[in-house]
Symmetry: C2
Subunit: 331 residues, 2 copies
Amino acid sequence: MNNNLGRKLASLAMALVFSGSVVAQEPITPIEPVKEINLAKVELGKKLFFDPRLSKSGFISCNSCHNLSMGGTDNLKTSIGHNWQQGPINSPTVLNSSMNVAQFWDGRAADLKEQAGGPIANPGEMAFTHTLAIDVLESIPEYVTEFTQVFGPDCINIDQVTEAIAEFEKTLVTPNSRFDQWLLGNADAITKHELAGYKLFKESGCVACHMGPAVGGTSFHKMGLVAPYETKNEAQGLAGVTGQDADRFKFKVPTLRNVELTYPYFHDGEAATLTEAVDIMGRLQLARKFEESELDQIVAFLNTLTGDQPSFALPMLPPSTDKTPRPTPFE
Amino acid sequence: MNNNLGRKLASLAMALVFSGSVVAQEPITPIEPVKEINLAKVELGKKLFFDPRLSKSGFISCNSCHNLSMGGTDNLKTSIGHNWQQGPINSPTVLNSSMNVAQFWDGRAADLKEQAGGPIANPGEMAFTHTLAIDVLESIPEYVTEFTQVFGPDCINIDQVTEAIAEFEKTLVTPNSRFDQWLLGNADAITKHELAGYKLFKESGCVACHMGPAVGGTSFHKMGLVAPYETKNEAQGLAGVTGQDADRFKFKVPTLRNVELTYPYFHDGEAATLTEAVDIMGRLQLARKFEESELDQIVAFLNTLTGDQPSFALPMLPPSTDKTPRPTPFE
């Protein structure tokens, strides 16, 4: 037996002991607490996540569209970008995004670090350049000190910026939902109605895609599997990355953690309510028309997936200096 | 002697004892800690301050332009409003704004409560209506419960909304700056260079307007007193409120507390740096051309006015329900 497998079996055995074996039997597993985090890097990344000076306008930060007061989303169909441009796709939640197999709806970024650089330089989002963002950070002594502490005395570069943001984002997990409490052995943590919803969620096949600790995020599937999904949204999904026609309309299965908070739903944000979203998923992905009482049950279950939201003090951003390039929102 | 005067004299006597009489001799006084605050109202107001659902777009909150990570301002010349409209005037800091004699640059709101309703319904800012904002809040059970706890079981109304926001804003004071530590008797809290700046600030007449605990905020004065201020900004100042031609270009003297954080400066935001702002103030208000070394001293003094920034956990906003009217950013 190799060491790696041995370690995995050992943790599985411990999980069984810890949970009274409930965990191992379910396709959804509890969110694990964050481990092995570089706290100084997290604190730097937190500031960067909230800093609108990474945008051309000085007005848009990561938190604008992944608002951590609102489930890590903007609760808009598609986002508002620089100069009030309408974004092409719904902002996915940043919560638990470290568990995603890849980032963005079409998976075009391998990980959080790669993702974080995208919006900064996207002309429709923050509309800046990596070079200009670094110029801003280099002009602020408190940032220079913090980057030096975390990354050493080299000049600040975009790799460090995205690495710090990704490290902060790794902390944005939401353990301790009522459903996780149930998974971990507290039978009273969810109601019979909610449990019935979970059983239906499993039996009807939702768990084929929405499984694991994030209840999704681990695979790509076609939107409109058994019947076509009608939308005016032009996103092509995975095909835009692979160039394969077979990948058209394949999107990353979104996490259902905190789905109560992350409305509206789907890549085009066209499902305003969770009931509507579950109804459409049933018909288009599973060829099943859920009855109203069934929708109620499933939605009740989904609402048990709201976990502890990240809790931290609003970060204070170090002030610009006389040398800091000023934002140009109206140019 | 009436009771009120008696109380005032008693606290003055206590202040003298407490501070070794330093306080009473200086035109600038320390920021006092917040007292007599309704904590439940503060917590409600904090959520409302951060809630973009008070805007038509669902994207702009009070915190967008009075960003508490950035000195209670947006650090832009003039703000970005709904549909990326360019605002007419620089966003004043919300920090210590409870000490202002009136709100807005032209003083058109008597107090924080009156001010708070303005941006929500201003078509160039949050572009909503008070009625629609109340509809949103009434549709969210957690808000309804919180309003009931704070204000009783009546329907939510805009007076309650603005009163809660104002109560939160009253907590946004920034005590304990190095200058306040000096005022309170710690002679080592500021350097000789900074103290020289303060002496110059007093002797040259800056304190005629920038005095009291907020180092400003208590009077209206003409921008361009001894020489005209050149600007393309169309704001008329107090004249727009009083209708008096004599009040043209009279603006509320801004607080200099945390001025290190609240760049750019003046009602038009045209002074990018503090050095530039002090130079212009000297020439246009005091008929005095400060030398470079004098500007250095005054700016060094002004940077001692940065106090403890409000520290609190990022508020979690209660989610919308299926009945909540959705934002319409692009209509």
